[in-house]
Symmetry: D2
Subunit: 149 residues, 4 copies
């Protein structure tokens, strides 16, 4: 597998809905943040997920994992760094680190693994335009503009 070494930083602001009565972000919400971040990465490399679906492909999650290092709560701005290290074949792996804006110690780290499937959920190889987008942006480290206030 070829090396891709692509990363992208996306930001979300924690809303009240995401907190629980322990005053922390409920653990499953990080997987929504991961999704928002990977969709943003795909838009950035001009391979938006909605386009992939229009072309008859889907990328269902086949495995997900998260470690929770520190708590986050309401109105925290979280930076989600998504990395694609290796070229995908039948599956693609994305790694995520969640930080509070301006801090170093991670709040959470995780990964998701996705299969490429067609509209009937049959496994397929990663579509060529998707692979080309990845290779075209290999080695890049993108960082989005900060969120509005």
């Amino acid at each position: 597998m070829g090396r891709i070494d692509l990363s992208h930083r996306h930001r979300v602001r924690v809303i009240y809905a995401h907190t629980d009565r322990m005053n922390t972000v409920y653990y499953s919400r990080y997987f929504e943040y991961f999704e928002a971040a990977r969709s943003a990465l795909l838009r950035r490399i001009e391979a938006p997920y909605a386009e992939l679906e229009k072309a008859g492909y889907m990328l269902p999650v086949v495995e997900s994992h998260c470690r929770y290092h520190r708590a986050a709560t309401f109105e925290d701005t979280l930076v989600i760094e998504t990395r694609i290290d290796e070229e995908p074949k039948a599956k693609i792996r994305l790694d995520y680190s969640v930080l509070k804006e301006g801090e170093e110690a991670p709040v959470a780290t995780g990964y998701t693994i996705h299969s490429f499937v067609d509209a009937s959920f049959r496994p397929v190889r990663a579509p060529a335009p998707f692979m080309e987008a990845l290779r075209r942006h290999a080695g890049q480290h993108y960082d989005e503009e900060p969120l509005p206030l």
Copy 2:
């Protein structure tokens, strides 16, 4: 419009995910409880929503409303009473009361209004089998079995 006067009591147990840092059920969650309750009512009158979709119809929500009277929190068992008072035509209205099991004072009350549409989101009249199911169960007041522990 004919009188239907049908009611049904469905139960949900509040999970941690539904609480927020105010230690109450987050306000939008009640609309999920309403959905669970109306789907249960439709199963009870042998007109399950999944069947309606299979027959080419959908019932998107066109209006939703909720008043919050008292707080509910983690592990509360909530009884959602759903009522259909009148025969629908192009639209159907459902009314909901949420109680804590064994108490009288409502936690929340609300309603949803839905359009009957076809698979292209074009408005249609309520399908005949759906109307027949409503009339067959008119005047009934159903109450589900309690939840497991």
Copy 3:
């Protein structure tokens, strides 16, 4: 009651998690968008909700309402315009219009009504610093920067 006539435009991008199998944003999600938008308005007028809570106040929702005019789906950028028309007393009302970026026809419109309460959920009058923030920004119509890609 005095006139406030304050408005603010906040943007969210619809994530996959928010869609349902009808390929539309699930109806309760609009209340999360309303929350994100009103928290952004409060930050904009320098009365962030987290500060209000630190000062011992809360603003639980006592009533919520939404009309759904058109469908929205994955990767749509939605503009949520929040308006505060009148000075609050024991309660505050916020009105919301949801548009797709660059379009006129609303996707959804709604409102929420909130009580001012203390940490024991006892009703109180709107705190003075909050009222001053509202008056200081009365007549303003704020519009956030667009979201990153």
Copy 4:
């Protein structure tokens, strides 16, 4: 570490809110099902999580993992089997298998690991009454009543 070998089967019915436009249960929802299932197990062994919190303890998730084997969708009844294999010390691990009622092939499998902490999020050992509850029910394999219709 002592052997606990405790299992419990809890059921959830998939609501429309949990589906996404791929017509499957959105991947993060399984972590909510896991939570509902582990809270049910704790109620079953007379160590309900709400009681644990009242006694000044919390069990935040420090790691979560899920593999997705097959799709589930609206109105499926899912059986979540939760297992506690080993005695916890500072951390407790729970394993989950999600099945469709009446089928053998798993829909999803996963685990969560939790720390015992006090109200200030400081790590503590598992409280004695919790350990006693686990030991008292060691070797048991509980199965809840089916859900109402």
